[in-house]
Symmetry: C2
Subunit: 324 residues, 2 copies
C-alpha cells in the first residue's frame, strides 16, 4: 500500500466554537471563524497494511496503546467506512506545536490525518469533503483544511457542517503573538467545558445570538482590513465565551494570575497607541492579534513581563497540503 | 437641635444587586438578598444647626469639601424635603470597616445616615421607611436597616422598593471569612460596572431570570438551614454576576491572581470535606461562607496561604439601632 504524508497548520478562532449540537457527528451549536497560522503544524503519515492486526498509532515517536489511541482508531474507522478500505493502518504523526502553547494541536492533527488517511485509503476528496471528514476527529480541525481566514458553517447535519475559506491568502500585515505562560495540563478539557456551558449556563442561548452577530460584523471587517473592528469583536467574543465558564454550574475558569496580568498589558499597550487585541481558548494563555508595524513594541513588552522564551510570533498560514 | 447617633452594620449579598433601573431613585433591576454582618459597622451622628451656612461632613475625622461631600449633601436634601427641616447639618461618621475589606462601607454608612439624619430632622420613620430612605444613598444600604438575612424587593417605584427581613435573628452557626487581599482602589467602580453590564452585556436579560430563580431557591434553603443549597446558589450567583463583567463591551474583570488562587482553595477545601462557598462583589476579595464547626480548618488554610492578618471572621449581625 502507499504511505501518504500530509501537513496541516493549526488555527486560532476569532469567533469561537464553544458547544456541540451532536457529539457523535461533531456538529457545533454555532458557526465559527478562525485564522490558520504559519508556525504550528502537524505532519502525519498514514499507510494501510493488510498484514496488521490492529491500527498502529505513533504520535511524536510514541506508540499509543488503547485507550489513548481510540480517537485515532475511531477516525480511521470512518475513513474505512467511506473508502471500503478494510486494512488496519500505520499512523505516524509529529506535532510541531510547542507543548502547551494553548494552540490546539488537535486542529492541525486531525486536519493532517484527514488528508493522509483519506488519500492513503484511495479516496480523492475535495477540500469541502476533507473539511467534513476532519470535523469528525476534532471540531477545530474542520477549519484547518484551509489557509487564512476560514469560516466553519455549523450546518445541520454531517453533509452541511463544513468550513469554507473567507480569505485563503491574507494580504494584510497582521500577526498573532502567542504567550506560553502555563505548561500545566488543564483541569477541565474543552470537551467537558463546552458540555457544561451548553447544559448549565443560563447565558448559553444568548451566546448563540452573540456568535451570529459577531460573524456578521467580523467578516466584512476582515475583507476591508478594518483592524479595530476585527480586534474588538475577537476580544469580546473570547470574553463572552469565558463568561460561559463562570456562569456554568458548578462555575469554573481557565484564567490564572498571568492571564489577568497579560490582559492588563494588552489594555496598557492599547492606551499607549499600540493597537492589539487578545483571545484565549480553553486554557490560560493569551494570543494577541496586532499589525506588524506594532510587533516589535508588543513582543518586547511581553518579553519584559513574561520572558522572551514565552513569546512566540505567528503569521497567517496555509491550508492542508500533501508532502508525498 | 438634638444630635442623634445611629449604628448600622454592613451586609454581604448572597443574591447580588447588579444594575439600576432608575439611577436617580436608585431603583434596582432585580431584587437581591443579603446577610448583615456583625464585624463591620458605621456610627453616624447628625445634628441640624440653624447657624450653619452649609452642611459640615466629617468622615473618619476628615472634613470633606465639595465635591467629595456631595453624595451626603444630596442625601440630607432628601431628608430636609421629607421633614421640612431647613437647617444645614453637622454629620460625623466613623466607619469600623477595615480599609478595602471588600465589604462596602456605603451599605453601613448610608443605613446609619438614614437613621441619624431622619431622627435628627424630627422624623420618626418605620424600618420600612428607613429602608426606602437609605436606598437613596446607596443601593446596598437598603438592606442594612435589618439584621440577619434580608431581601431587598426591587419594587417599581420609590414607594415599593425596600428591604424586608427574611430572618432577623439567625439561629444557625454560620460564619463569613473575609479575605482582605488587595488594598488597591478598584479601576472600575460598582456604579460604572453595573451600568456597563446593563447596557452592553448580551447576557443581562438572562441575569434577571437567574436572580429570580436564585431567590426562589435560596429563601427556603435559608429557612430550612440547608447549607449546601444556600452555598451553591450564592457561589453560582456571584460567578454569574462576574460573567456579566467579562461579557460587557469593553470586557473587564474584578478578579486578580489572588482571587483565582482563593477560589481554588475553596474548591480544595470542599473536596476535603470542609464545606464552604465563596462570593465576591465589585472587587477581588473573596468572602467565604462556612459553618462554624469548619471555621478553624478554613481560617487556618487561608491564613497559611495569604497570611493571618488578611483573614477576618464575621458572623450574622444586627440591624440599625440608635445609640443616642
Amino acid at each position: 500500500m502507499t504511505a501518504v504524508t500530509a501537513r496541516a497548520h493549526t488555527n486560532i478562532a476569532l469567533v469561537k466554537y464553544w458547544g456541540k449540537a451532536d457529539p457523535n457527528l461533531m456538529l457545533p451549536q454555532t458557526s465559527s471563524l478562525s485564522l490558520t497560522l504559519d508556525q504550528f503544524y502537524t505532519d502525519t503519515t498514514v499507510e494501510f497494511d493488510p498484514r496488521l492486526t490492529h491500527d498502529m498509532v505513533r504520535i511524536n515517536a510514541q506508540l499509543l496503546a488503547a485507550p489513548a489511541s481510540q480517537k485515532v482508531v475511531d477516525f480511521l474507522n470512518i475513513v474505512r467506512e467511506q473508502s471500503g478500505q478494510s486494512a488496519f493502518a500505520h499512523v505516524t504523526s509529529v506535532n510541531h506545536v510547542p507543548t502547551a502553547a494553548g494552540l490546539a494541536s488537535s486542529a492541525s492533527a486531525f486536519a493532517a490525518m484527514a488528508g493522509a488517511a483519506s488519500r492513503a485509503a484511495g479516496l480523492e476528496l475535495t477540500p469541502r469533503a476533507l473539511s467534513r471528514l476532519a470535523r469528525r476527529g476534532s471540531g477545530s480541525a474542520t477549519r484547518s483544511i484551509y489557509g487564512g481566514f476560514v469560516e466553519w458553517q455549523a450546518g445541520s447535519d454531517d453533509h452541511t457542517s463544513l468550513a469554507i475559506p473567507l480569505q485563503e491568502t491574507v494580504d494584510w500585515p497582521i500577526a498573532v503573538v502567542a504567550l506560553v505562560l502555563d505548561p500545566h495540563h488543564k483541569r477541565i478539557s474543552s470537551r467537558q467545558g463546552m458540555q457544561s456551558s451548553v447544559t448549565t449556563s443560563p447565558y448559553y442561548p444568548a451566546w448563540k445570538t452573540v456568535v451570529a452577530q459577531d460573524l456578521a460584523t467580523i467578516k466584512p471587517a476582515i475583507l476591508h482590513q478594518d483592524f479595530s473592528t476585527m480586534g474588538e469583536v475577537l476580544e469580546s467574543n473570547a470574553m463572552r465565551m469565558h463568561a460561559l465558564t463562570l456562569s456554568a454550574q458548578p462555575p469554573y475558569s481557565y484564567f490564572n494570575g498571568d492571564t489577568l496580568r497579560a490582559m492588563d498589558t494588552v489594555r496598557v499597550l492599547r492606551q499607549a497607541g499600540q493597537e492589539c487585541y487578545y483571545t484565549l481558548d480553553a486554557g490560560p494563555n493569551l494570543k494577541v492579534f496586532c499589525q506588524t508595524p506594532d510587533l516589535p513594541t508588543i513582543t518586547q513588552k511581553f518579553a519584559e513581563q513574561f520572558g522572551a522564551e514565552h513569546v512566540i510570533v505567528a503569521h497567517p498560514g496555509p491550508g492542508l497540503r500533501f508532502l508525498s
